[in-house]
Subunit: 340 residues, 2 copies
């Protein structure tokens, strides 16, 4: 396994994005977010997505020069048109605005219509937490999952993120609505393994932990069966109504690739408007203490809080370099003009 230092990965991605037509400052921001995703162990949405993003630019599905324009200002809530600009810079802008509003009022909500794939949703949770804010955000997507009770696709795999700032390491939940991603199915199949728990249905309509069988039916499992299915529907419709933009059904019709012209919601809250720092520390520590005091399934098990695994992967990858697939890495280097 090859490991690449963070700075080298970021610089290489930045060159690829610049060659694809991005202004230098935007390329720097997008490259940072992709590299940070890989650094945190979210390999599917970091380096691995660079090629597809460049492809989307060349198809005109992402306008590298566009940035959000204000549609509506309601005080604590602002609505922007993402103008099909890069999903990452649009989302960073939106969460930043939400925190600016929250810094004034305690609470800020910014929504985007007509934006594009934000890559790793958790990035904007970490962003809010890094600035000292509670962050909640989600996006809708094209349909790629059957609703509960159906065999064919009809709902989005809309990720939902919640983040809480904490000095010793933020708490960040970043979850898609499917139990596993298609990436996880593929990786598991290539390794000739089974999923740790059932992740979809086979041809006979039975739950299965065989990734190949699920890839065949494309009946991936919503997390919590009917619950994740209903949650996905609500996230979709509310992101659309909060931004005046397209629902999953509309994104499907639009046909601008994954998440083309999607809607996103960014909520920020300043916990220090309600609590002293001591109250916040106490609440967080009591919660983590309670988690640690449960009995682990395995003797050496440790009960983690949301985001804790990302933090330890980040530390490891910062120290040792970020593991990459050589094929993927070479493709990105080629896009950066470093190899042919």
């Amino acid at each position: 396994m090859t490991r690449i230092p963070f700075d080298e990965m970021k610089a290489t991605i930045k060159m690829a994005f610049t060659l694809a037509g991005m202004q230098e400052d935007k390329a720097e921001i997008c490259a940072r977010t992709h590299a940070e995703s890989s650094m945190d162990g979210i390999y599917s949405h970091g380096l691995n997505r660079v090629e597809r993003f460049v492809d989307f630019i060349s198809k005109g599905w992402v306008d590298v020069d566009a940035s959000p324009s204000l549609d509506l200002n309601l005080g604590a809530m602002e609505v922007y048109n993402g103008n099909l600009g890069p999903g990452i810079t649009n989302a960073i802008f939106a969460m930043d605005r939400a925190t600016e509003i929250a810094a004034k009022n305690g609470l800020g909500l910014v929504s985007l219509n007509n934006t594009t794939h934000w890559m790793r949703g958790g990035a904007y949770g970490w962003q809010a937490a890094e600035k000292g804010f509670i962050g909640i955000c989600w996006t809708n997507t094209e349909s790629c999952m059957p609703p509960w009770g159906a065999t064919s696709s009809g709902i989005g795999n809309n990720p939902f993120i919640m983040a809480v700032p904490r000095k010793e390491g933020h708490m960040v939940l970043d979850m898609a609505m499917s139990q596993y991603s298609y990436g996880k199915l593929e990786v598991t199949r290539l390794a000739n393994k089974k999923l740790p728990y059932p992740g979809g249905f086979d041809q006979e309509g039975n739950l299965t932990d065989d990734p190949a069988a699920i890839e065949q039916t494309r009946r991936i499992l919503p997390m919590g069966y009917w619950k994740g299915s209903g949650f996905a529907i609500m996230l979709d419709i509310i992101s659309s109504l909060l931004s005046g933009g397209l629902t999953t059904a509309g994104i499907d019709k639009k046909g601008l690739g994954s998440c083309g012209s999607c809607c996103q919601v960014f909520i920020a809250i300043d916990p220090l408007k309600i609590n002293t720092q001591e109250m916040i520390d106490q609440a967080l520590n009591a919660t983590i203490d309670q988690l640690r005091s449960t009995v682990p399934v395995t003797e050496d098990g440790k009960i983690l809080y949301p985001g804790e695994r990302s933090l330890s992967t980040r530390a490891e990858n910062m120290a040792l370099g970020i593991p990459v697939d050589d094929g993927v890495w070479n493709k990105v280097k080629a896009l950066a003009g470093l190899i042919c």
Copy 2:
């Protein structure tokens, strides 16, 4: 099976609450919410919870005369102390305030600390939708579920609700963090049946659909395995930080019964501040059309939107009466002084 008309059920519960010391107006509101829960098919949190609520009053865990008092006003966000008043009247007050703020600003958030069990969380989603608002709310609870990777309890089964108003029937998602409730396990065991899908772990640590085995280990399954576990932790900590109140760990220490001194968050958004009614109808209809156009697993299957089953149960129970367990019904009649 005995079926009781809605009005008779509501009147009987109201008498029970009045005899327990509640003022008439509050007893009317609480009785309505309990009866409506049963009418909508949420039997576990309707008539079935009356006896326990009366018990909580007699123990001093609920102060029937208390109502919320303002802790903090930040404009779009208000924080109240629930003063251990009835969870239902406190929650109705809070969602009402959230919609009033949203009617002015588009967005309103009201949080409660030190409140009590709100019974059916979905009630406050329906309430917001009935007034024409998008509603999002959640509560924290005492711990009753193992976090992912543990065999002993350490996190709350915190329900999360999202509601969208719709003329032909609101869309309402009301989901707890466990895959099944203990009530569902009991009902399934008593019927000598298996759960439709695995719902927890047995003594050997294997996933099982046998309700008795799960009741024994008390290792109920968070929805989506690690996802529901992480979600429960975030809902807990954020409800605490948004209200300055207790986390699950604090509720456990307090020992005022289920949800005693818990925290709740109520968000309301006015979709007409962002969309025309036509845009809203279009978004909702396109989404429901897309759901209906998927291929159902069974030939006569119908893909439902969140809340649709409640609506059809409501219609049936309004027409035929609400099914009750005779033992439960007689206990409530006794609490109402109607029988000995």
